[in-house]
């Protein structure tokens, strides 16, 4: 779990109290992932149990945590090992689309559109943060934001492709050649096909 290694990485720079670890983790990740203080202490006690951190208690009973040699070894190993991507991550959005197509196919375009707006909103927020971060010169934070922006972009592009596919599927059932709108319908199918190609 990444929180375990994040705490080790912070302790690698020097001993800390438990609460300082929480604050430093949050500051380093732009307050995007708030940490539950209880979780910090339970992680620390597991790290202590495994011999990865050492604890010293002062006269007031306040504990200071320090990384052990085994902890440094563990941290080196973490940095040296690629993160394993789940083969097919269980993604709520993908599952929602699958079942929207089954239960309410005619409303799936709306599901896609609502999600697109929500995803765009995140993208707008990340982009604003990035504009500020560029000025601050905090490279680690900037790279993290780049990652979040690319993830949101990937989702938005996927949703646009879904919309283009749904539009093409809706327009496809054979236009009537006698219908004066036929050439328009053919244009619309071509447009939708163009959108699918572009999104791909």
């Amino acid at each position: 779990m990444s929180i375990r290694y994040s705490l080790l990485a912070i302790l690698d720079a020097g001993p800390r109290h438990g609460y300082a670890l929480k604050s430093e983790f949050e500051a380093a990740t732009g307050n995007i992932w708030p940490l539950n203080v209880g979780q910090v202490y339970s992680t620390l006690s597991r790290l202590e149990r495994d011999g990865l951190v050492l604890v010293a208690e002062d006269d007031d009973g306040q504990k200071t945590y320090r990384i052990s040699d085994a902890g440094r070894q563990e941290l080196r190993q973490w940095f040296g090992t690629p993160v394993v991507r789940e083969v097919v991550p269980r993604q709520e959005l993908a599952i929602k689309l699958v079942f929207a197509m089954r239960a309410r196919p005619e409303q799936t375009r709306d599901v896609v559109q609502h999600q697109l707006v929500a995803t765009m909103r995140s993208l707008q927020e990340f982009t604003r943060l990035k504009a500020t971060a560029e000025g601050d010169g905090d490279l680690a934070w900037l790279m993290m934001l780049d990652g979040l922006i690319f993830q949101a972009e990937a989702e938005a592009r996927w949703l646009e492709l879904c919309e283009a596919r749904l539009t093409r599927a809706r327009l496809r059932p054979g236009p009537d050649p006698k219908d004066p709108k036929t050439s328009e319908a053919a244009d619309a199918v071509r447009d939708a096909e163009h959108d699918v190609e572009r999104a791909l």
Binding site: V117, E184, D187, D191
Partner: protein, 238 residues
């Protein structure tokens, strides 16, 4: 006061039953200092919207009000004047004049508007410098990269303190980083008070805007704007 206001604007071509509705009952306003992105599938009416906003085409219904004047009520000469003074366009194809340097391209709209050539050139140079393009002021378009050319085109579009900048796929022909630089430039002009409307297919570029409008089949169907404050980013605890 909004720089641009479109009220129930429609644009139809032909007559029934073979009528094509390019834009249907679209209302929007853009304030000074606001940046708007317009997205939607091909044929959804994005470019038509931009043409109507900039007075390049007239609506078949509704009103377009630009800097306090309703375009439909203006005489041709007054319309030309207000468009020349208030609206700048940027297109995907840069179309800078090949025989003129960057500074000459930027000074041209000022000269056409009656400014003395020397003053126009000074204003053009000052603007290019403020946009970080001072070094390329004396180069011909062919001597510039695609991204630099497009940034010069943005300078030409905003020179003279125009209040509305309309951009149709301004990053469409650029690589990712050059496109980003153009969007940053548009954002900076907007932050300095210009109203900006950008049509784009690129979600990452649209995200520079304050509001993202979605068009489908000629109608505005949705809008994205960021929620206030960083707390909206807090999805879940680790």
């Amino acid at each position: 006061m909004p720089v641009l206001s479109m009220q129930r604007v429609g644009r139809r071509y032909g007559s029934p039953p073979r009528q094509v509705v390019a834009l249907d009952d679209v209302s929007l306003t853009v304030q000074s200092g606001e940046m708007l992105a317009v997205m939607g599938p091909s044929g959804s009416g994005k470019s038509t919207l931009l043409q109507l906003a900039g007075g390049l085409a007239r609506p078949t219904s509704g009103h377009v009000v630009l800097a306090g004047s309703e375009l439909g009520t203006l005489k041709e000469a007054d319309l030309s004047l207000i468009l020349r003074r208030q609206v700048g366009f940027v297109f995907q194809d840069v179309n800078l004049l090949a025989a003129l340097t960057a500074a000459e391209n930027v000074s041209l709209p000022l000269e056409l508007d009656g400014m003395r050539p020397r003053s126009a050139m000074a204003a053009a140079r000052a603007l290019l410098c403020s946009l970080g393009l001072g070094e390329v002021a004396d180069r011909l378009p062919a001597q510039l990269s695609g991204g630099q050319q497009q940034r010069v085109a943005v300078a030409r579009a905003v020179v003279g303190g125009r209040s509305l900048l309309l951009a149709d796929e301004p990053t469409g022909a650029l690589d990712s980083l050059s496109g980003e630089a153009v969007m940053q430039l548009l954002r900076a002009r907007s932050d300095r008070g210009c109203a900006v409307v950008v049509v784009t297919h690129d979600v990452r570029h649209a995200a520079w805007a304050d509001r993202v409008l979605y068009l489908r089949d000629g109608r505005l169907i949705d809008e994205a704007r960021p929620l206030a404050g960083p707390e909206s980013l807090l999805w879940e605890e680790v």
